[in-house]
């Protein structure tokens, strides 16, 4: 994790860049969210096979992308935390985890809502669905592990190891629709061949993905800023001889 990222959340100079970035990212996320939903619900054509239920993909697919992308970012932070002495990467790893977990919940819930009208089932133990569920368990495991260990350094290292080990789930999740015959439809876009439904919805999905990424940046920056403030309050109390 570049040192510049630490400066973004914990500037030591004239002013707090995080205070400037958070509202801008938040506003951009709101505008993109409205645009993506409007395009996906009103403009994109009806899917001939799945009907209007395919419009759920405008929320489901970007949420699944975001859950995966945040996990990859956490793994990069985890590697940096294990390899370096800076506390910044571990702080970012912790700040990203709740947002990643929530996007995994959104992906699973909206996936169930998309699956029910098209296949008649809310859930199946399909490779893609199971891998996404394992991703949620990895996020929950990381958050639980960090809160279970009192020593922050040990908590950071244990969390980083867990996240890095869990990276094995990323290619399984992404390529599961190619490696196995699954109930889940093919990949929406990217390395794997996109489906026709995804082609029609792709512009809306990309706008929504941008919305989710800017939203994730805003809330993660705010969470890092909040954690630093709590840490400063603890240090002040310790300096005054009070329990933190």
């Amino acid at each position: 994790m570049p040192a510049a990222w630490n400066h973004v959340a914990a500037p030591a100079g004239k002013g707090p860049p995080a205070d400037r970035f958070v509202p801008w990212f938040g506003a951009a996320a709101g505008a993109l969210l409205l645009a993506g939903l409007a395009f996906g619900l009103f403009v994109a054509p009806v899917d001939p096979v799945q009907g209007d239920a395919a419009r759920i993909g405008v929320v489901h697919v970007p949420a699944a992308w975001t859950s995966l992308l945040i996990y990859i970012a956490m793994a990069a932070c985890g590697a940096a935390a294990l390899g370096g002495r800076s506390k910044g990467p571990a702080l970012w790893m912790s700040a990203l985890a709740p947002t990643g977990a929530l996007f995994t919940v959104i992906a699973l819930a909206t996936g169930a809502l998309a699956s029910r009208p098209s296949s008649g089932a809310w859930w199946t133990w399909d490779a893609r669905l199971t891998a996404e569920l394992i991703l949620l368990f990895l996020y929950i495991g990381f958050l639980s592990l960090r809160s279970a260990i009192d020593d922050p350094r040990r908590a950071d290292r244990a969390g980083a190891v867990l996240v890095i080990v869990g990276v094995v789930n990323v290619p399984i999740l992404y390529f599961s629709v190619l490696w196995w015959n699954t109930l889940h439809q093919g990949a929406a876009a990217g390395l794997a061949r996109a489906t026709d439904t995804a082609h029609a919805m792709l512009p809306a999905m990309l706008v929504m993905a941008l919305a989710f990424w800017t939203y994730s940046a805003a809330v993660s920056l705010a969470r890092v800023r909040c954690a630093l403030l709590e840490r400063e309050a603890d240090h002040r109390r310790l300096r005054r001889g009070e329990p933190a």
């Binding site: 205070d19 209007d52 239920a53 759920i56 809502l113 800023r225 403030l229 309050a233 002040r236 109390r237």
Partner: protein
């Protein structure tokens, strides 16, 4: 798509609206929780005798999450 088609969506409207509601609801919950945590951190800072506004990474009071 006209209004009637949007409302019915071939019987799929509850699923589509539910998916959008789940997404927006979860995001709103996260923002609300973060705002509450920020306010708690500011109160902790005040209790610790520090001036949160004077710290280099001070969040805006009562403002951005």
């Amino acid at each position: 798509m006209n209004w009637n088609e949007l409302v019915s969506m071939g019987g799929h409207a509850p699923y589509v609206v539910g998916a959008v509601a789940v997404c927006l609801g979860v995001m709103a919950l996260e923002v609300a929780a973060l705002r509450a945590r920020t306010r708690a951190a500011l109160r902790a800072m005040d209790a610790a005798g520090g001036d949160a506004a004077a710290t280099p990474f001070a969040p805006a009071r009562g403002g951005a999450a």
